[in-house]
């Protein structure tokens, strides 16, 4: 697949810096913005819910991870507004929040599709041909690995081992695992099950 110069992708296309679409190659280029600009307003009720969650943790130590996980569950991703809110309400510097959010593959700085497809690239699946499965999905969804389809339905990513090695090659869509996909023709039907 063509190399996007802005997104640093590994062989399977999971840029650890998935979010690098927003990163500025030269900071002088201010045409790109790092926030979601209007998609999430200050009045969004999810902020109040998030605040309740933070308060419920009762000043416990090390709550950045659980708070980010809850925020991601609620908002679907972690844009500037959400991270700023977390920083203000936990006292952790924004740079540290962002540093944690970008360290872990599961946190998304940008919006994700309604359904997440993870193609297992673990050893057992790889050896059984998971690259072909990934290629088929790219073809079917017309989307690059690590990105979201234009209708916002699916985000396609290559993942680490899902732990279902006996059924290699596998993919995971949301919480559902589909195994034995050496026959890639099954894939369009599987995709069709999701709204």
């Amino acid at each position: 697949m063509p190399e996007d110069p802005e997104v640093n992708q590994n062989r399977f296309g999971t840029g650890v810096g998935n979010n690098t679409q927003r990163r500025l190659g030269n900071v002088n280029d201010q045409s790109k913005c790092a926030c979601s600009c209007g998609c999430i307003t200050a009045e969004d009720p999810r902020f109040a819910e998030l605040k309740s969650y933070i308060d419920s943790l009762n000043q416990e130590q090390g709550i950045t991870m659980p708070v980010l996980q809850e925020a991601q569950r609620s908002f679907g991703y972690l844009p500037l507004e959400v991270q700023k809110f977390i920083s203000e309400n936990t006292g952790v510097p924004l740079a540290e929040i962002y540093g944690v959010a970008t360290f872990y593959s599961q946190f998304a700085i940008e919006p994700k599709g309604r359904h997440h497809i993870g193609v297992c690239m673990g050893t057992a699946c790889y050896v059984k041909g998971s690259q072909k499965v990934l290629d088929k999905l790219v073809e079917e969804l017309k989307v690059k690995v690590g990105c979201t389809t234009s209708d916002g339905k699916f985000t396609l990513e290559a993942t680490r081992c899902l732990g279902c090695c006996g059924l290699a090659p596998c993919i995971m869509i949301d919480d559902d695992v589909f195994g034995k996909l050496d026959d890639v023709s099954r894939i369009p039907d599987i995709l069709g099950k999701y709204e």
Binding site: G15, V16, L24, G25, V27
Partner: protein, 591 residues
């Protein structure tokens, strides 16, 4: 806490049992190389350049541990110079170089770079690995600090300094693995984040990943322009550090040579910020007494540190009313320069270029604050750092060490000892106390050294009993240096735990002597030398050598009031020498 016996390269030494292998080696006369190590600030064993071979109780360690972390134990045998260690260290340095912008010749830290020195000392003669490199992001949008990702070696010293020493945390590691970068959140420019520009990160950076925005060319151009009248002021702390740019020991006092150099660079007048420091004391002392006697907002907090002002505006806006409305000495000087001085000397103020030499990087942004001007004329046009002055002197090929001692010009160049000590933490407070005490007692007090406000404790407290409106009153003061300590004091005041009349806050730990614009001292040298202490000592020595040591005794300042301003806090004083503040928002989307 006792001592243990260890062997370093066959040499036996007895060291405290809380020493690391690196410190034990130093005692044995061996300086183990390092890059990410910064004493008490960043001890994380990340660069793997300080690795050694070590036996613990005769059993060799399987891997090569980092000597900056490895704690000594009885009988430990440390070997720093085996073929294995040399090969490992060389390879790790090569790996750093493989992902580094190696254009030393055009780099700001050429000749003063810890990585460069390391390559020289270790005899690096090749870089075997070619491949992907970090994206060369350059952020030069702020007035003060430039970030160059291509030079970063991911040591983390800046991060630890900003987060742990200063308590702010503008920078952190982002992303993971090879993609790791040191950056502000969301890759915002330093211009748009909660950075106070204290420049402590620059002082901590071993390479040129963080540097200051320079204005040397602009200043040289102004000097050469026959139409322009270029005037320079020098902050107190500069004279205690400038000599280091020329290889002199840390904290050598070079006041006379500094003035001589500036003259030879071609400045039309060489003045001294200490003059306006004295001026500031008059204005601020009067303001303080006013607040104390008329029930004004207390505690009053000093306002000469622009890093502190930004910190207050961003993190503690509820304390904005507490700030003194006085401009900083740098800004006061510029305002007086283009009004009083221009009028007195018959110079068109539009032709005056106001240059300052500061130990500070935040002053560059301060000089650019929109409100820092009078009738459309900027108080300060260019603020240079001590390092930039050193550069200018080198570019002009002036041999600094051979210069004679000269003194500053009149009528904005006289200063008292009180003005000089502004550069050390506690200095502003001491200067203020010297004047306020005389005013309140109506005497010319001789006991003017307030040792309680001196020194490097993060938060200092003192009290002085003085007569106010006939009543003996205990004036309680506090001094904080480093923004983390400022936060401590403010939190205590907010919580009602402390109640002061006057607080001095310096954004930089140690005060201006350790500002972001001072000469950079390497991590290894810092193991033996404390720049904060040495440079402050130079200033206190200059204070002691002064005949006049109280701001109100400054005759040029007295003339300024008599001939122009009237009296402290007069209407004209307010127009020229006072300012206002507002809460500041950061991390705003710029699109």
């Amino acid at each position: 806490m006792g001592n243990v016996n260890v062997t370093v390269n066959g040499i036996e030494v007895s060291v405290p049992d809380n020493y690391t292998a690196m410190l034990a080696a130093r005692q044995a006369g061996v300086e183990i190389p390092s890059l990410c190590f910064l004493k008490d600030v960043n001890e994380i064993g990340a660069c793997r350049v300080c690795v050694v071979e070590a036996d613990i109780k005769g059993v060799p360690m399987r891997n090569l541990p980092a000597s900056c972390i490895l704690q000594v134990a009885e009988g430990m045998n440390i070997r720093t110079n085996t073929a294995k260690v040399r090969k490992a260290v060389k390879t790790n340095v090569e790996l750093i170089l493989a992902n580094h912008n190696r254009e030393c010749l055009t780099c700001k830290r050429n000749q003063n770079c810890e990585l460069q020195s390391l390559c020289d000392e270790l005899g690096i003669d090749q870089v075997r690995f070619q491949g992907e490199k970090r994206k060369p992001t350059i952020d030069n949008l702020s007035h003060s600090i430039i970030r160059d990702a291509s030079k970063c070696i991911l040591c983390g010293r800046c991060i630890s300094t900003c987060r742990d020493v200063q308590g702010i945390g503008v920078l952190d590691f982002t992303h993971r693995g090879f993609q790791t970068e040191v950056a502000p959140a969301f890759d915002f420019s330093m211009r748009d984040v909660d950075c106070v520009y204290c420049g402590q990160c620059i002082e901590a950076c071993p390479v040129a990943a963080l540097t200051e925005r320079q204005y040397i060319d602009e200043v040289f151009e102004a000097i050469e322009d026959p139409e322009k009248f270029v005037v320079v002021q020098t902050a107190p702390a500069v004279r205690a550090s400038l000599g280091e740019e020329f290889g002199m020991p840390v904290g050598t006092r070079v006041t006379g040579k500094m003035v001589a150099a500036l003259r030879r660079l071609g400045f039309d007048k060489v003045f001294d910020t200490n003059f306006s420091a004295d001026l500031t004391i008059l204005e601020e002392g009067t303001e303080l007494l006013n607040r104390v006697t008329t029930g004004g907002v207390l505690p009053m907090i000093t306002s000469c540190s622009p890093g502190w002002i930004r910190f207050c505006e961003m993190k503690y806006p509820e304390f904005l009313p507490n700030l003194s409305t006085c401009k900083s000495p740098q800004q006061m000087f510029g305002a007086i320069l283009k009004t009083y001085y221009a009028q007195k000397m018959g110079i068109d103020p539009k032709k005056i270029v106001s240059v300052s030499v500061m130990p500070c990087t935040s002053k560059k942004t301060e000089a650019n604050r929109p409100e820092m001007e009078v009738d459309g004329l900027r108080d300060v046009d260019y603020s240079l750092t001590t390092r930039e002055l050193g550069d200018m002197i080198k570019r002009a090929r002036i041999r600094f060490a051979n210069l004679p001692d000269e003194t500053a010009d009149s009528i904005l160049g006289e200063y008292t000892g009180a003005g000089v000590i502004f550069g050390a933490t506690g200095g502003v407070m001491e200067a203020a106390l010297r004047t306020v005490a005389d005013i309140l007692t109506g005497k010319d007090l001789q006991d003017i050294e307030y040792s309680a406000v001196r020194g490097l404790d993060g938060v200092k407290e003192a009290s002085v009993v003085l007569p106010i409106d006939g009543k003996e009153t205990e004036i309680k003061v506090a001094i904080a240096h480093g923004t983390a300590n400022a936060a401590k004091v403010l939190d205590a005041v907010k919580a009602g735990q402390k109640d002061y009349h006057f607080i001095e806050v310096m954004a930089c730990p140690g005060g201006c002597v350790h500002g972001g614009g001072q000469s950079i001292v390497s991590a290894q040298v810092r193991l033996d030398v404390n720049p904060k202490a040495n440079r402050a000592a130079a200033l206190y020595a200059e204070d002691e050598a002064c005949v006049k040591r109280k701001s109100h005794d400054n005759e040029e300042v007295q003339a300024l009031y008599k001939d122009f301003l009237g009296k402290p806090n007069s209407h004209l004083s307010h127009k020229l020498l006072h300012t206002h503040y507002a809460p500041r928002k950061v991390y705003e989307c710029q699109a």
